[in-house]
Symmetry: C2
Subunit: 265 residues, 2 copies
DNA sequence: TATTGTATTTCGCAT
DNA sequence: ATGCGAAGTACAATA
């Protein structure tokens, strides 16, 4: 992959900066570090008074604006929002966008710019993830005895009118549906499973068993499940599922020592 | 507020760069634009092959790494993760962090750095938000007739053992609890309300009415609610609630023309 | 600390 | 397009 290039834009004259930024929109990543106010108007209305923030506009027209703390941006706009426009307002830089379909607007008014860059960032990869719920289901399908001694898998990850079912099987002479949760079960999860049970009862007249699999169950949730004829099965994924075992050491080599590095220069 | 300053770090010699970065951790915002691989190991395991990404480390030790598209970071780490360490690996920069409590690790291996900056970003403000669910509840409390003709509010936003109740009132001679949703009601929302009803039945022996307020109800959800003795009330917030009305025009001045700007130089 | 619910959730998938 | 559920959800409020 060719080397991309990043360019520091001169901050003045401001009209030249505005030109360069407008030309970079939807082509390059724009990075501006500045002191600004910001207003969002749409599903909600938000007001952000003057402070230092990092504004990033990506080539898919998504926008994120970060303050000095936290993972979540202070303001953002989803991709393909609509035109993004830089202009001069009171001798300062202003960014404005309006999402066509919803009418949502985001306005960022800069008072001071520390740095402004455009970057033709290249990334042809996709993040690979192991250990999400779908992987846990696949693991259980290979080790059905973890669910219950004698459990036989019949179908996995199929759609019903009320939602997707993780595992349908047969055990102790009855049909069973299994709902798999990566994290501790919640009341909403319990209701979700109950709804599936009711669906099979209503549409197929079957009195089907239900098992919820999760690392742990708050007392309320366990009570609710059992009161409504459902079963629980605690599976501490981190101890059982090989991919998501917790690293015990802080040494990188212990986890990725088997990975081959490719030089790319 | 004093003007913060941003500093471009020399990219070589790499040991000097590493020193500067390690000294900046937990003090300044660190911004690195580079080509890198990344690995996360914890609740899941993720692998990210070589590509151009923007890495931001904030002074609260939160980390976000963005690729060229999308609002969501490719990798991240929540605040107060634990020590963040830069080092040299195969003549290149590497960042490593391990969250003490969970053992989650994030490793970023750079192959090329385009820009590296540290920034003493200042922000003493908090974002102000209008139009979230709590504001809708307050609006309904002032306009209870929107819920139902003759509705009288008794209590609002109070805690129960099963969760917070938005509005409790009296209407048509019976007690009513009202659950307010900003967005279309979901199956989980319906179950949530049912749980509250059951709570009042179990703990106070009251056969209380329940109304769910939302802009719209999918057919399944409406059926479930009515089948279980709950009522629905459609309220299209965007047409009614003044703060979140959709702007019809694309001209900035139409929305912010009334705002006074303060110079801050 | 654990539980619970909201979110401008975002994102992906299936209908 | 809408509905639905997962997410390394993040984050705040609460017990």
């Amino acid at each position: 992959m060719e080397l991309s290039n990043i360019e520091n834009l001169p901050l003045s004259p401001i009209n030249d900066l505005i030109d360069r930024l407008n030309k970079a929109v939807s082509d390059k990543m724009i990075i501006i570090a500045g002191r600004c106010k910001a207003y969002f108007d749409g599903r909600i209305k938000s007001t952000l008074e003057s402070g230092d923030r990092l504004l990033v506009i990506k080539k898919d027209l998504s926008i994120i604006m970060h303050g000095p703390e936290g993972v979540k941006p202070l303001n953002w706009q989803k991709p393909d929002a609509g035109p993004i426009h830089f202009s001069e307002k009171d001798s300062a830089l202003e960014m404005f966008t309006r999402r066509k379909k919803t009418g949502e607007t985001l306005t960022v008014m800069f008072e001071h710019i520390f740095t402004s860059m455009i970057w033709h960032a290249l990334d042809e990869t996709e993040i690979e993830i192991y250990g999400d719920e779908s992987d846990l289901v696949k693991y259980l399908v290979k080790h059905p005895e973890l669910i219950e001694e004698g459990f036989e898998v019949v179908r996995t990850e199929f759609q019903t009118k009320v939602g997707p079912v993780d595992i349908k099987g047969r055990s102790k002479g009855r049909e069973v549906i299994v709902e798999v949760k990566k994290r501790n079960a919640s009341p909403a999860d319990a209701h979700q499973l109950k709804r599936y049970v009711e669906y099979f009862k209503d549409t197929e007249g079957k009195n089907i068993r239900a098992i919820m699999v999760a690392p742990d169950f708050p007392k309320n949730v366990q009570e609710y499940l059992e009161k409504n004829g459902m079963s629980i099965k605690k599976i501490p994924w981190s101890e059982i599922f090989p991919v998501i075992q917790r690293p015990k050491s802080s040494k990188l080599e212990d986890f990725f020592g088997n990975k081959k590095k490719e030089k790319n220069t």
